[in-house]
Assembly symmetry: C2
Homo-oligomer: 150 residues x 2
């Protein structure tokens, strides 16, 4: 992610904190910066590794709490995955995911037709939809290559 985009995202975060009356702490800023630097879809523990490498005093609980609060105010999102750990996503605009069923990689994909997909009417379920995501499950390039050579 380029420097300018990163700066803009951090400004958004500052603004949302002010609006929500949330104190803006050094630790949460470090977590957000780590998320913006990592542009894959890391687990909380992986984010903690990165943050701790820069400042070893940031605790695991704080990283977990910070990621939840960042997701709650919409500065980051949670990605879905049929595995065990929650995956966080620094991209907040609508996009879709390739999910590798072998290695658990999550790869961003943009496709005009997917983006143009209208949200269906779910009022009969009493359900209010805020977000539509398409998930393409399959096998990534690296996993296929590994399989062929074996």
């Amino acid at each position: 992610m380029d420097r300018q985009t990163k700066q803009r995202r951090i400004e958004t975060y500052r603004r949302r904190c002010r609006e929500g009356g949330l104190p803006l702490t050094e630790q949460r800023m470090a977590v957000l910066e780590a998320m913006l630097d990592l542009d894959d879809h890391p687990t909380a523990d992986r984010v903690h590794d990165v943050v701790a490498r820069r400042d070893s005093r940031v605790s695991r609980a704080t990283v977990y709490r910070a990621l939840e609060s960042l997701a709650r105010i919409g500065v980051i999102t949670k990605a879905c995955h049929p595995g065990k750990a929650v995956r966080y996503d620094s991209r907040t605009e609508t996009h879709h995911h390739l999910v590798c069923l072998r290695c658990d990689a999550i790869i961003d994909v943009t496709d005009d037709r997917l983006d143009a997909l209208p949200v269906p009417d779910t009022s009969s379920y009493g359900f209010v939809v805020s977000d539509l995501r398409v998930q393409l499950r399959g096998v990534c390039r690296r996993c296929r290559e590994l399989e062929e050579t074996s």
Copy 2:
């Protein structure tokens, strides 16, 4: 799920076991029956509760293993969810999900337009797609009602 459908699903399971050379045990049959009776999208522990109520000697590890093996041979599927526990799905045909971000409910939804969605070309990513799922995130009826009254 009606009796006839359930019987057909169990027959499919028997056949896949024979084809795959897997012994068909009482415990795995109990896990499959529990999945077919629960038509929400239960966690492994919830399936274990149901199975254990019928036969308290079935161990937790067996239920976890059985669910994985049922998913591997395609008799059930795994649903994606931005939460911590894996959710299993007794429906194997393509369908889509409403996911409540408040209570973690997963509700099946069928929509012709979603079903007709073509799988986009992902060859530039080197990715082979086996399955396309749409996820509609939002808030379910019950959670909205709870919120209004509070």
